[in-house]
């Protein structure tokens, strides 16, 4: 890939390893994932790693936000709250950053880029939770007033 920062290429090269490690430790990432089959877990992890890679390459926040909204919405149907979904995404990024540090001990930019992506992810989810909190709070007076 021409002109792409080295950490982007490094992340892409690490992706298969990160995916394998995630599947291996999935029970410790989130107890709910332990119940998924390896294939189901792989599908979810792959989607998250793809979203991280897209963010690193394109820097496109709108796309990333769209992915996160879908991720959180789908997790909510599994009974997983947005904060749990957030911690899961951060745990995935942590695993990726740990592997990056181990594979590139002399180049801190890879792990740093992943940490920044994790912080942006956590921030976007907080924005989403705050937005929903504002909406639901606005619905309270009408809901309470609907009672006799």
């Amino acid at each position: 890939m021409s002109g792409v920062p080295s950490y982007v290429a490094a992340f892409e090269q690490l992706r298969p390893q990160i995916l394998a490690r995630l599947i291996e430790v999935r029970g410790s990432l989130d107890h709910a994932i332990a119940r998924l089959s390896a294939d189901e877990a792989r599908g979810m992890f792959d989607a998250v790693l793809h979203a991280l890679a897209t963010l690193l390459v394109t820097g496109d926040h709108t796309l990333h936000r769209g992915f996160l909204h879908s991720f959180v919405a789908v997790r909510s149907t599994e009974g997983v709250g947005p904060d749990h979904a957030q911690r899961l995404l951060v745990a995935i990024a942590d695993t990726a950053a740990t592997l990056a540090r181990a594979q590139h001990p002399n180049d801190p930019t890879v792990a740093l880029a992943i940490n920044h992506a994790a912080r942006l992810t956590a921030r976007m989810i907080n924005d989403g939770i705050a937005e929903e909190l504002e909406r639901r709070t606005a619905q309270l007076p009408a809901a309470a007033g609907g009672r006799r």
Binding site: Q86, L120, R123, R148
Partner: protein
């Protein structure tokens, strides 16, 4: 090569309970560690847990050399269950007492973990925390089977009901797990008073620190007490060998923490330059105080975390900030900007350090980047908890609307839905004259007594209906009709249904006493009581059936809603794949078109414009651009 294993444990009564019904074993000589959490009224739980603890400890000591670890733990725990069960049978005030147990036996490099109940074991390895035990509770088993969602588990009516414990029976079904320990592993055994009240992120951070086990156990108990301390708290930490600390961590804990502390004033100056004191969160503070309080506490939290190679202090800092600000109605945007300001202030300090020591600066930058992620997740937890509270309030209002009496229009008797009682046996003949006479006497006597219930009218109706059912020749039809008349029109909630069962119970008690008291031959009284108790059994059972049938539509509505959700979810998942495919093409376009040397700088963009739910979503306005950041 064997590992040097050392354990430390402690227990606390908590902030709410009067007695500590937890017990623990920390026996390094025999390699035995255990946490037990007793249950049962009037200190019976204390008896159960200490009894089980003593039996397990003695059993292991006596038979350590005779049995393998797996068989030894299983047999010891079963012996404890038999002992607790026996004690429970001997004394009426100890009936139903029991205890959980999670025990670990270390033999060389092998750890055998056995448990019954909801006390837990965790393993920390390579910075990741693994739960080694599944809770033996009804809700945990329902979640495991997919019968309920994890989110529902905390709200479930039976969330505290164990599916297994020691003492319910003479034997117990024990789950056993064996692991090979590695140097640096850390095991934790704990009661639900810890994980039920301490945030799991805080637990992880504390256990993952390189602090001695005694300090970590104390901090864990503190975390549970700060989280409410509604139960007894017990934790044991077992360290297997010396932790292998990466060199980078050693550097951070020493030079890194020192370098950060040396620049504390620099951070406060940077915070002032970035306008931290002008944040709405600091509105009631003088500028110097605001800087000292907010930026100063942030600087101290970062320092302590660098020193201990953890993020728990930044976690607490961010959580307290969020709880305090949001709790008084503060806006998220203000908190967001404050966190950004602190992040930029830290960047300034790191930038200056980079000029002197690039390698150390890189280490601190990485640690700080991770700490700020922790800060965001700490705040996320607070935001999500507030969202859950508001949603629960909305649900309550919705439920209250559903209970409005105006919605209850039809009388059940006009719309029979419950089939007549099945003919269990051949139709009963009407009672003979002497039994009839006894029943009539009992009815009058019972009616003349004060009702042990607040609704005298309902008590009287229940008694009269029971008498009619008892004196009729019936195949169950009379009971069904009587039940419908008694049910009448009432709301389908606890407030509507409980008075009916109360009235039936009170009527039954009065009626039975009256049969005993009324003059008559013993044989006749027994026959009368047979009919009467059968009548009350049929009435209460039919009323319960009516309730069950009446609430059936809510289950149907839930099934329909769940199906609609599943359909939407499938659409989202399908679309996500399409988006991902296009993103790959889009990314390739960008890759090929990048000027060489362009640096991507990931930062935090301005907040998305709040969406007005009354307006349709915005149409695409522009072609995508690289959103590089300043």
């Amino acid at each position: 090569m064997s590992l040097v294993v050392a354990g430390y444990g402690d227990s606390h009564v908590g902030s709410v309970r009067d007695t500590n019904e937890d017990a623990l074993i920390v026996d390094g000589k025999w390699g035995l560690y255990a946490v037990l959490d007793g249950m049962g009224g009037a200190s019976a739980g204390d008896v159960a847990s200490t009894k089980a603890r003593d039996v397990i400890h003695e059993y292991v000591r006596a038979r350590r050399s005779a049995l393998g670890p797996r068989q030894l733990l299983e047999a010891a725990i079963n012996a404890a269950s038999a002992a607790v069960h026996g004690e429970a049978q001997r004394r009426r005030d100890r009936r139903g007492m029991g205890t959980t147990v999670v025990a670990c036996l270390i033999d060389g490099r092998r750890a055998t973990v056995a448990h019954v109940g909801d006390s837990r074991a965790y393993l920390l390895r390579d910075g990741r925390m693994h739960r080694l035990t599944n809770d033996h509770t009804i809700v945990a088993e329902l979640v495991a089977r997919g019968a309920i969602q994890p989110d529902e588990a905390d709200r479930h009516a039976y969330k505290n009901v164990l599916s297994r414990n020691l003492g319910a029976k003479a034997t117990a079904a024990v789950d056993i797990n064996e692991i090979e320990l590695q140097a640096g592993d850390r095991l934790m055994l704990c009661s639900d008073g810890l994980y039920g009240y301490a945030a799991s992120e805080a637990m992880h951070q504390l256990i993952a620190s390189t602090d001695p086990a005694a300090d970590v156990v104390r901090d864990l108990i503190d975390a549970a007490l700060r989280g409410g301390g509604g139960d007894n708290v017990t934790a044991i930490l077992i360290d297997a060998g010396t932790q292998l600390v990466p060199r980078a961590t050693v550097v951070l804990r020493t030079s890194g923490a020192g370098a950060w502390w040396a620049r504390r004033e620099r951070l406060l100056a940077a915070a002032r330059a970035h306008g931290i004191h002008r944040s709405p969160l600091c509105a009631v503070l003088a500028p110097d105080d605001a800087i000292a309080l907010v930026a100063g506490n942030f600087a101290d939290a970062v320092y302590h975390d660098l020193e201990k190679a953890t993020s728990v202090n930044v976690w607490s800092f961010a959580e307290n900030l969020a709880v305090g600000w949001l709790g008084q109605g503060g806006a998220w945007l203000a908190l967001r900007e404050l966190l950004d300001g602190l992040g930029r202030s830290a960047d300034t300090v790191i930038g200056e350090l980079r000029a002197e020591d690039p390698a150390l600066a890189a280490l601190i930058e990485a640690a700080l980047a991770r700490a700020l992620v922790t800060a965001e997740t700490a705040v996320g937890g607070v935001l999500a908890q507030r969202l859950r509270t508001v949603e629960a309030e909305l649900v309550r209002h919705d439920a209250a609307r559903a209970r409005q009496p105006a919605e209850v229009t039809a009388k059940f008797i006009d719309h029979p839905t419950v089939p007549y009682m099945r003919a269990v046996d051949a139709p009963t003949e009407a009672p003979g004259p002497d039994v009839q006479h006894l029943l009539e006497g009992a009815r009058r006597r019972a009616l003349g007594r004060p009702a042990a219930t607040s609704d005298r009218a309902l008590f009287t109706r229940a008694l009269e209906h029971a008498h009619r059912v008892a004196t009729a020749a019936t195949d169950g039809g009379d009971a069904a009709l009587a039940a419908r008349e008694l049910f009448d029109v009432r709301s389908l909630d606890e407030a509507g249904v409980t008075p009916l069962f109360d009235a039936l119970d009170a009527a039954r008690a009065a009626h039975v006493d009256a049969v005993r008291a009324v003059p008559g031959a013993a044989g006749g009284k027994v026959a009368a009581l047979r009919r009467l108790t059968a009548a009350y059994q049929q009435l209460s059972s039919t009323i319960a059936s009516l309730v069950v049938e009446s609430v059936a539509p809510t289950a149907e509505a839930l099934r329909e809603a769940a199906a609609a959700t599943a359909s939407l979810r499938a659409q989202v998942t399908k679309n996500e794949r399409r988006v991902a495919d296009l993103e790959r093409k889009f990314a390739t376009i960008i890759d090929d078109g990048l000027p060489a040397g362009m640096r991507f700088d990931l930062g935090l963009d301005p907040p998305a414009r709040p969406r007005d739910p009354s307006k349709p979503p915005p149409l695409p306005r522009r072609r995508p651009s690289k959103e590089t950041l300043r």
